[in-house]
């Protein structure tokens, strides 16, 4: 009996869950920070000449912040289920590690895309305002990459 419990619920089981929660927020915040910084340089360079466009050009920064909120949601979900090794199986730890990694790396990729697109799009919008709609569409498609990671993470979490 005790060997069964120790086989199903080893002492290192929660380690994977903790790593899942940590990687969810770490990589999402990394992507969001890159997106904010890269599009922030573009906004700063653009606002010198067109300060009236600041409200429109903040949108990439907001979208990069949303990537971090995806990671925060998954990290809070995983952290809510963490428990002592006697009730937390190794399988649950693997599931939570997979959920955290999926939203983390998807957020990292989406943050990179938002940063690069936001930088170029904001600079271009200052010269051609009709580019704004295209920039928003591209930003939404970049944002959706992070949302796909969130959906997979939540689906894994229900297993």
């Amino acid at each position: 009996m005790s060997t069964d419990v120790s086989n199903d619920n080893p002492i290192y089981g929660p380690f994977f869950g903790v790593m899942g929660a940590a990687s969810a927020i770490i990589f999402s915040a990394l992507g969001a920070a890159y997106g904010t910084a890269k599009s922030g340089t573009g906004i700063a360079a653009m606002s010198v000449m067109r300060p009236e466009l600041i409200m429109k050009s903040i949108i990439p920064v907001v979208m990069a912040g949303i990537i971090a909120i995806y990671g925060l949601v998954v990290a809070v979900l995983i952290a809510g289920q963490l428990d002592t090794p006697t009730t937390y199986s190794l399988y649950k730890g693997f599931i939570h590690l997979g959920a955290g990694l999926s939203v983390g790396f998807s957020g990292l990729a989406a943050g990179f895309a938002i940063g690069i697109v936001g930088d170029a799009g904001v600079r271009g919008t200052a010269q051609q305002p009709r580019l704004f709609v295209g920039m928003i569409l591209i930003l939404i498609f970049a944002e959706v990459l992070g949302l796909y990671g969130l959906i997979v993470a939540i689906y894994l979490y229900t297993k």
């Binding site: 000449m49 067109r50 300060p51 009236e52 466009l53 600041i54 409200m55 429109k56 903040i58 949108i59 907001v62 979208m63 912040g65 949303i66 909120i69 995806y70 925060l72 949601v73 998954v74 809070v76 979900l77 809510g80 289920q81 704004f132 928003i136 949302l147 969130l150 939540i154 979490y157 229900t158």
Partner: protein, 107 residues
């Protein structure tokens, strides 16, 4: 005499500059208020929605399992987040263009 008139012109120019600066400051302040409101909405609305929905759904349908309550709260939080983002984009696209004509490029 000519020096005096020059001085008067200079002070007039300074006054118009100050009033222009004040109007720009008030415009900047109003746009800052709008941006701050929407950004705080986007940051805090999903967090409040998550925990409120978790407590409310738990209280309302306590037959649901804990995982399902968490999922419902997370989906609701992300939905509220996207509603707030959509509101901000709508405001930036349709409301941010009215003050465009009053300002021009500065050297």
């Amino acid at each position: 005499m000519s020096n005096k008139t020059k001085k008067g012109n200079g002070s007039d120019g300074g006054q118009t500059k100050v009033s222009k600066q004040r109007s720009q400051d008030s415009q900047d302040y109003s746009s800052f208020k709008v941006v701050l409101f929407y950004c705080s909405l986007i940051v805090f609305l999903p967090v409040v929605t998550f925990f409120a929905l978790k407590g409310f759904v738990l209280e309302q349908f306590f037959t649901m399992s804990d995982v399902k309550v968490n999922i419902a709260a997370a989906v609701g939080a992300v939905g509220a987040l996207h509603v707030a983002l959509g509101l901000y984009i709508y405001r930036a696209y349709f409301g941010g263009s009215d003050s465009k004509a009053s300002q021009s490029k500065q050297d």
